[in-house]
Amino acid sequence: MGTGDALISAQGLMKRYGDSKVVDDIHFEVRTGEVFSLLGPNGAGKSTTMRMLSGTSTPSGGSLRILGMNPVKDGPAIRARLGVVPQKDNLDRELTVLENLTTYARLFGLSRKAARERSVELLEFVQLTDRAKDLIDSLSGGMTRRLTIARALVNKPDVILLDEPTTGLDPQARHLLWDRLRELKRNGVTVVLTTHYMDEAEQLSDRITIVDRGRIVASGTPAQLLRAHGTPEVVELRHDDGCDPSHLPALRSLAERVEVLGSRVLLYVKSAEETVAAVHRAGLRPSGTLERRCTLEDVFLRLTGRSLVE
């Protein structure tokens, strides 16, 4: 797919603060109507990239096009068609739930009547209609987050940027939020999201780019990433007394890759069942074993190198 089809296109994108490169030569494209995720550990440069997309942070180098415009020059014009959900909820605590939406809508130039109609509609969408007259402080974390997302939709954006939308939410709140994001996608909104939850990325994304320390370490669909960087299955060996390092050579011969995560040893294999049998045949006696399929989280941990990679 060529650049012509890309709603967002970043080439060689850089952001430096003094000597530190927060974003270092990142390139990606986001196509119309897809959910694109930027994954990475804290400090990987995700939020900075998002801020450059909305034109509130100026790139130090590279090129960035969004909706056919340049965010440095056309920030306001881009933001007219953009919804932004920042990492930190920044709702107005002086105002009610409904007023938070109407005042923000008015900043986009909506008339009083249009702002009100749109806000009522959005409260319905995020299931907060019965809280319209309440103050922000009375809302739960999940409600606050949903309201922030509703706020980002006042201008019926073509693209919505969500920076860690579900951090700190309980499972119920996360699932409700994911459901709303899928609904947005169905309505043709392009979604760009950052997260460090792998299940979230796997649930929602059409394509993923994994960044670490400002650089891209892998890109692709969730399935592609799993194929390229994972194995079909994983065996976890639990050792209550800690793992005996002398067993590692034997384990290595049984798996494509071995990772030691504290008291757990992860074996990346084709067939978990066969491997467990082989482990027992070799006379190794872990306190427990778990057979599971390989997940994005495994891929992520491997690529971002936060564990002891063997």
Partner: protein
Amino acid sequence: MLNGTLRVARFHLTLYRRTWRATTFTSFLMPLLYLGVVGIGAGSYVENDVEGFSYVQFLAPGLLAVVAFQTAAEEAGFPLYAAIRLTDRYQRMLTAPLSLGQVLAGHLFFITIRAAVSAAVFCAVAALLGVFDSWLCLLLVPVAMVVALAAAAPLFAFTARLTSSANLMTVSRLVVLPLSMFSGVFFPVEDLPAAVQPLIRISPLWHGVELCRGLSGAFTAGSGTAPSFLAGHLGVLLLWAAVGFALTLLVFRRHLSD
């Protein structure tokens, strides 16, 4: 540009409707208290005219300028700091289709409106009390707006650079309070030590005080004001506003769009 600026000002006004009660003391009551206690009370012991005015008539136009000055200083202090550093209100406005210039201009415009309201209330009460002879004193309200702009714009640049709110008190203690006392509001600047006078003559408040007093003399005694007098003082005030605006925009670029 204008449309976005007005939207930002309207946004601030909407929020102010929720919080204005907290500002009634500094905006409305304190200046009137000064007018009553110092102007009418203590002033009754001042036998000589000051620059051709009775003491309270000398004081009132100066206090009017102080109202605008302090309203501006108040808004340019903690509320601005909080909007940038604590509540991210600025960052939020900047996710709307607005430029930094519009966000800044809109906020300053809101402050001049606040100053205008405070000044109008002050003028009305002063006129009712007979301190101002004529309702023409309401023509001083636009001057108060310019004073507010000239004070707020440079203070914005200072506040926008702060990374801790502790230094906000420094400004109010070392800049706002001394200027309010020594900018010719309570007594002519000529009575200050010669070394201090040039410093005071730089301050936007002094120019505001001079303008208000000159104009109020013109309204009440029909003494007239020279165009050069008006142009000189207004010029300095607008210069403060322009330099402050440019500096603030520079600081905003560094802190808000980096």
